[in-house]
């Protein structure tokens, strides 16, 4: 009787139903080599378990625990009706946007800036617009895209971070409309991962409120990039 490697492995892991297990046991009794294979599977499992056990026993680094014990406490619950934005918020956002634009304009005009003001509000331009168009979440570069998602109006939005500005941009027929902007938090160099900071938490909270579902996964994002972020 032949015993498939998968079956033998499942036996070693105690993952078989009793009847199948009996069948494998009979085969093992007749073939010492199979018994040795089972023992090898179990030794490997024990070895891996023991090797990684110390990681789970270590204290969790503060920066990870802090993401759950400090910042998120202020994160708002999902708003049932997120459509109405208060006038106060609007003006605060406008002021914040002005500050950011001031900073961006102040950087000089020798190269195309990352933001352009239009009659319809602020839109991404230059390197920021290109990153929003083509760059995958998590990829390193002057602009980092933290996450992409579909907003409740079904349009695509992306949370971005750069040295000049952080914010949330949403795609519309005219381009990437900047919905939230705040001074940049990402250092020019570094690991490519952004430390959880206050602006981070604010943006995440805002994105959470706008999000219709889970963030896009890599495949979904790739598809969206290939389709130029058009929705239909």
């Amino acid at each position: 009787m032949t015993i498939e490697p998968e079956l033998l492995m499942a036996y070693a892991d105690d993952a078989l139903d009793p009847l199948t297990a009996k069948r494998v046991e009979r085969a093992i009794a007749a073939d010492p080599a199979l018994a040795e294979d089972v023992a090898r599977h179990r030794r490997l499992k024990a070895k891996l378990g023991a090797a990684y056990a110390p990681v789970a026993d270590e204290p969790v680094p503060d920066r990870l625990a802090a993401m759950l014990t400090s910042n998120v406490v202020q994160m708002p619950r999902h708003q049932p009706r997120p459509s109405r934005v208060s006038a106060a918020w609007r003006s605060a956002a406008a002021m914040a946007a002005c500050l950011v634009v001031g900073v961006l304009v102040g950087r000089g005009v020798q190269q195309e800036g990352p933001v352009t003001a239009t009659d319809h509000g602020l839109y991404a331009a230059g390197s920021l617009a290109r990153a929003l168009d083509d760059q995958a979440s998590g990829a390193k570069g002057p602009v980092r895209i933290a996450v992409s998602f579909r907003a409740e109006d079904n349009g695509f939005c992306r949370v971005f971070q750069s040295t000049e500005a952080d914010g949330i941009a949403c795609r519309d027929p005219k381009g990437w409309s900047l919905r939230r902007t705040m001074p940049g938090s990402t250092p020019g160099t570094g690991s490519g991962y952004v430390q959880a900071g206050s602006s981070d938490a604010e943006l995440m909270a805002a994105a959470q409120d706008m999000m219709a579902d889970m963030p896009l996964d890599a495949a979904g994002e790739k598809k969206a990039i290939a389709g130029h972020w058009r929705t239909r």
């Binding site: 490697p5 998968e6 492995m9 499942a10 892991d13 993952a15 090898r40 599977h41 030794r43 490997l44 499992k45 070895k47 891996l48 378990g49 023991a50 090797a51 990684y52 056990a53 110390p54 990681v55 789970a56 026993d57 270590e58 969790v60 680094p61 920066r63 990870l64 625990a65 993401m67 759950l68 014990t69 998120v72 406490v73 994160m75 999902h78 995958a136 979440s137 998590g138 990829a139 390193k140 933290a146 996450v147 998602f149 690991s191 991962y193 959880a196 981070d200 995440m204 994105a207 959470q208 999000m211 579902d213 889970m214 963030p215 996964d217 890599a218």
Partner: protein
């Protein structure tokens, strides 16, 4: 602190372990944990209370790692491994560090699809069915990846001892 955060906090040690077995590097593992927590917090409304948070988190982490690995290969980045042993058992004993380094090195040689199966079943101790659901693959695919991954690891880790 809300129940979601409390439950997530309790899962962090296991998530760090899973991250370590996926990334085979202490610093990368904690960066992956950070990204995973960010994503989970943003998507918290998509998690249904009463369902298993650990499976949900494993899935987010696994997908985040695929994204990271893809972005890296796209950037053709020269990956410089952290100093061996860094990040684990800072105060722990040398023997445990050596064992982990040996296993990390062996895990690094596996294709991603085998490594994630091995990590979920052999390191995290999940049932085949749970692992298959997290990876979104049929059981038969899981067991064949798992068996190949294990055979490669056995060969690599010199099964004699």
């Amino acid at each position: 602190m809300a129940a979601f955060e409390t439950e997530l906090l309790a899962l962090l040690p296991r998530l760090r372990r899973f991250a370590r077995s996926l990334t085979h590097d202490g610093a990368d593992a904690d960066d992956l944990c950070q990204v995973t927590i960010e994503k989970a917090l943003m998507a918290r409304n998509a998690w249904q209370a009463g369902t298993r948070l650990d499976s949900w988190m494993y899935r987010i982490m696994r997908n985040a790692w695929i994204d990271t690995a893809r972005a890296r290969s796209r950037a053709a980045e020269t990956f410089v491994a952290e100093e061996a042993g860094l990040g684990v058992g800072g105060a722990g004993n040398a023997e445990a560090r050596v064992a982990l380094n040996e296993v990390d090195a062996a895990m690094r040689t596996l294709p991603d699809e085998q490594r994630e199966a091995v990590a979920l079943v052999l390191v995290e101790g999940l049932a085949y069915k749970e692992a298959a659901e997290i990876l979104d693959i049929p059981m038969g695919t899981l067991t064949s990846r798992l068996v190949r991954g294990r055979q490669a690891l056995m060969a690599r880790l010199g099964e004699a001892a």
